[in-house]
């Protein structure tokens, strides 16, 4: 069978997951991430109609227009995608959501909404396409730019970066990962695992801006990422329908994370002593990586003990948006009974 025509479990080809051609710069890391989202949704056999894609404002936030053309999407306001997503997913908690944000969108104008999204544990895959610079306004530093960096347009950066992964861990996120747009396999496996998580999964993906921040000495560049990436694990996602086979199983160096929907994530440890279930260790490792000039990637932190917002809300199987009118409007007796207390 021709590769293009290969169909997945819901009868769709990979082309069915594509959307409008990207208008981002050639070589932009965001395009690579969009392509991985297409690949992952195809591989997982998700119905595009069951997925919503959300974003704020910025280069990154244009991304949802470039994947899953058969999914409803909303390109909302700068930094406000978390609230819009929260409302949408409370209205219909059966949808899966992929939110795409940027470092300006998440680390500056939307930092408050991001922290509260984490706090509420809304079931969403939240991807930060992190390039340390404002592209659409042509080259200003973002809040994730490194301390002391010099850029042609923006000049000298006098302030330390906000680390999105640290903020997510501190705020209580149960799934926090960092990746690099140049590491397609890792991005894919993390996306798959994130889509199976019960609550908010944060993926901070270093995604170089080829127009304004791709100098070799920039910590958000392709060259620097390739040279300095330190992956914590080699990841393998096993879908619920597949039998788990862990090749080259080496006790003590491989762990299996059971995900909420029955799927599993295998972690072949590259750093033997790293356990992704220790919040303080995760923070410490990120801090050490920052100090040593490493791009620490992989599953940084995992804890699925906290219910999602929809679970806390106690909804039934039918989403609020699809409830029949007789469940939305109480009967005449209910009104009369209630008003009697005000007579």
């Amino acid at each position: 069978m021709d590769r293009v025509q290969k169909l997945n479990l819901v009868g769709l080809s990979k082309a069915d997951y594509a959307a409008a051609p990207s208008t981002l710069c050639k070589g932009c890391g965001h395009n690579s991430i969009a392509n991985q989202i297409i690949q992952v949704c195809y591989e997982l056999s998700l119905r595009p109609q069951d997925v919503i894609k959300l974003s704020g404002i910025g280069c990154s936030s244009k991304s949802p227009a470039y994947f899953l053309g058969q999914s409803h999407g909303f390109n909302s306001l700068h930094g406000r995608m978390p609230s819009l997503g929260t409302g949408a997913l409370q209205a219909n908690h059966t949808l899966r959501a992929i939110g795409v944000s940027g470092d300006g969108d998440t680390g500056s104008i939307g930092l408050g909404q991001f922290k509260h999204l984490v706090r509420r544990n809304v079931r969403m895959v939240y991807v930060v396409e992190n390039n340390g610079v404002y592209g659409l306004t042509k080259g200003q530093f973002s809040a994730t730019a490194e301390y002391g960096q010099d850029l042609k347009y923006a000049g000298h950066n006098d302030f330390p970066p906000i680390d999105v992964a640290v903020e997510a861990i501190v705020a209580g996120a149960g799934f926090v990962a960092r990746s690099f747009a140049g590491d397609a396999k890792q991005v894919r496996e993390l996306l798959k695992a994130a889509l199976s998580f019960r609550g908010l999964a944060v993926l901070d993906i270093i995604s170089p801006c080829v127009a304004f921040n791709d100098e070799d000495d920039s910590r958000k560049s392709y060259a620097w990422g390739r040279a300095n990436e330190r992956a914590l694990q080699e990841l393998g996602y096993v879908a619920p329908q597949d039998e788990i086979v862990v090749e080259d199983y080496d006790p003590g160096t491989t762990a299996v994370v059971e995900l909420h929907d029955g799927s599993r994530l295998t972690l072949r440890k590259l750093e033997a002593d790293y356990e992704p279930n220790d919040r303080l260790r995760a923070l410490e490792r990120l801090r050490r990586g920052e100090e040593q000039g490493e791009l620490v990637t992989g599953l940084l932190y995992y804890d699925d003990s906290r219910p999602s917002l929809a679970e806390v809300s106690g909804f039934g199987a039918t989403p609020l948006s699809e409830l029949p009118d007789d469940l939305l409007r109480p009967g005449r007796d209910a009104l009369e009974g209630l008003l009697a207390a005000y007579a």
Binding site: S71, H72, L77, S321
Partner: protein, 611 residues
């Protein structure tokens, strides 16, 4: 008992003629002393006697300690506008001189005798109440004693005016629900004070109450409660808000009603209420929920509304239903945060940047709060746009009489939402195409299983297929369609209420709670031979009847609670051919209007002294 008689002589002049069921009481206390329970007990007692009544809480932005007043209007004619009080209950030492000075000659002052105060007006009747002494043998301790202290004036006023004790008891039972011990401890103080007043005070003032049957079948409720109840019957499923006076009690009521009224057969909630981190997030959640197909609302006040501006512009342009209850208070900025106003009208009508025009509803009663509570969602869904309900602090936070609410007979109006099957039958689904010529496009909801149903919401320019476009002609066409939709809205919104009088030449235009003072003034003016026609707007954009009313009058006075006559300016802008005859007066001290003020404005205008 220590004090045996009033300290002063009866009011000056001849023996008073009884004034029955027609007066206003002001109760002056300190914020946070539990006086609200006492005030509501008095209010509800009059109501239970069948006498038309209304209470206004005039309170500071403070938790405890600052002066607060409760005004109770008792009116056998059914008037409920604020009126300068003839009776004063002076329990706040810091304001007693100012409060007493505000009484008219012949007025009555019931005061706490423990306050260091010497009566200083010979034209008033004074009744000192020895509060500490009355509480000496009461079996309550500590802070509770401070709270029940207010029940002393309930007992004394009940005796002076002639409220039967069993009526007060029933009011307390209503207030405290099933908590018998609270009823008992409060009523104990009421009855002791009542008995003391009967034995020790000589009634010399003319004010009293007599039973009527004017409240039979009516209810007492706040506007915020009524609006929230309306929303529940309108099927609201997602509510998100950030606390702000005077809108907080709207959500409090929602959180009270929803668990009682809205569960599925398995007992699971058919709703969610989220306290957001700020107003930006609150409206964001509402827009997200509206986009995903749930009926959603937020409640806020002016400062919160300003934070919602960007999202409301987006919702207007992306054409997403959303309902915002703006319980107006005095601005700009924090302004007078616990005082009432109609100052958000112009801002709300155009909120967003660029060309935006929203649908506004102006409820004026608890019945309309309930009705607009569900209709706002019907309108938002029908028009696929935000609908802002502009209530105010006076309506929202005070108790008003009203008819029991009529059950909504018409089914929920969900507007032009296409199912998967309907999408499949179409040649193409064009999200923003004006298929019906009314400016309202068809939409699909996320989760629609047709692969052709998807569309991409955005604030950037888009064509009929919801595709990104910066084409000027496409933009122009889209904005023209949105203007057409706004015209369509005129046919859907509640129509204005017009009251005409034979021979009237002046047309008075109002909206919201100012109606009560204006309607009372209209009656008072009629007695003086001055007839006016009154039109009360209930929505923007206004319908054809508004233009008709304006066209048929040569002289129009717009009365509103803002300085700059915001509605007058909107009318002038939209009816430029009539601009010159639309005059405005604004009332801006944060207090609700009085009929006397309206009367003066009308007479002044007719005599050429105003505007």
């Amino acid at each position: 008992m220590g004090v045996q008689e009033p300290l002063s002589s009866p009011c000056v002049g001849a023996a008073p003629t009884a004034i029955v069921n027609d007066f206003s009481i002001a109760v002056a206390t300190a914020n946070g002393t539990g006086s609200q329970t006492a005030n509501l007990a008095l209010l509800r007692s009059f109501f239970k006697m069948g006498i038309p009544v209304h209470g206004k809480n005039i309170f500071p932005s403070n938790i405890q300690g600052l002066p607060t007043w409760y005004h109770i209007r008792v009116s056998r004619h059914g008037y409920v506008a604020r009126r300068s009080p003839e009776l004063l209950v002076a329990f706040n030492p810091t304001t007693i001189h100012e409060d007493v000075a505000g009484l008219p000659p012949g007025g009555v002052c019931v005061y706490n005798a423990d306050i260091r105060y010497t009566p200083d007006r010979a034209d008033l009747t004074y009744y000192p109440v020895p509060v500490k002494e009355l509480l000496q043998d009461v079996d309550v301790k500590g802070k509770v004693k401070d709270y029940v202290a207010n029940m002393t004036y309930v007992g004394v006023v009940a005796h002076l005016l002639g409220v039967p004790l069993d009526v007060v008891r029933r009011s307390l039972e209503h207030h405290f629900g099933g908590r018998a011990h609270l009823v008992a401890s409060n009523f104990d103080v009421v009855s002791r004070s009542h008995d003391w007043a009967r034995e020790c005070l000589q009634k010399v003032d003319p004010y009293r109450v007599e039973p009527m049957d004017a409240t039979e079948g009516l209810i007492l409720m706040t506007g915020n409660e009524a609006g929230a109840l309306g929303a529940v019957f309108g099927g609201v499923s997602v509510a998100a808000w950030y606390p702000i006076t005077p809108s907080t009690s709207f959500i409090d009521a929602l959180r009270d009603f929803l668990p009682q009224l809205r569960k599925d057969p398995e007992g699971r909630p058919t709703y969610t209420v989220i306290q957001a981190e700020d107003e930006l997030a609150a409206i964001g959640m509402v827009v997200g929920a509206g986009w995903a197909g749930a009926r959603a609302l937020t409640a806020t006040s002016g400062p919160g509304l300003s934070l919602m501006a960007e999202f409301l512009g987006l919702a207007y342009f992306a054409e997403v239903p959303a309902v915002v209850w703006d319980i107006q208070r005095v601005g700009p900025s924090t302004g007078l945060p616990t005082r009432t106003s109609q100052g958000d009208v112009a801002f709300a009508y155009g909120i967003g940047h660029g060309d935006t025009r929203h649908v506004l509803l102006f409820p004026s009663s608890i019945e309309e709060c309930f009705e607009f509570g569900y209709k706002a969602h019907d309108l938002a869904d029908t028009l696929q746009t935000p609908v802002l309900v502009l209530s105010d602090l006076d309506l929202g936070m005070n108790n008003w009489m009203g008819e029991p609410f009529a059950y909504p007979e018409e089914p929920l109006k969900r507007g032009k939402v296409l199912s998967a099957e309907e999408v499949e039958r179409l040649e193409t689904f064009r999200r923003y195409a004006d298929v019906d010529g009314d400016g309202i496009p068809y939409r699909t909801l996320p989760g629609n299983q047709s692969p052709r149903s998807a569309w991409f919401g955005r604030g950037t320019g888009h064509d009929e297929n919801a595709r990104y476009s910066e084409d000027g002609a496409v933009w122009w066409r889209n904005m023209e369609r949105l203007a057409r939709k706004h015209e369509t809205a005129r046919q859907h919104v509640p129509t204005a209420v017009i009251q005409e009088s034979p021979g009237a030449r002046l047309g008075v235009i109002c909206y919201g709670t100012t109606r009560y003072a204006i309607e009372e003034a209209r009656d008072a003016l009629a007695l003086q031979g001055v007839a006016i026609d009154v039109m009360r707007l209930r929505a923007l954009p206004f319908g054809a009847e508004v233009e008709g009313f304006v066209a048929q009058h040569e002289d129009l006075l717009v009365i509103e609670m803002n300085r700059d006559n915001q509605l007058r300016d909107i009318l002038r802008a939209e009816l430029p051919q009539h601009a010159a005859k639309l005059h405005g007066v604004g009332y801006i001290d944060g207090m609700p209007l009085t009929a006397a003020w309206v009367e003066r404005q009308v007479l002044g205008h007719l005599n050429g002294r105003v505007d």
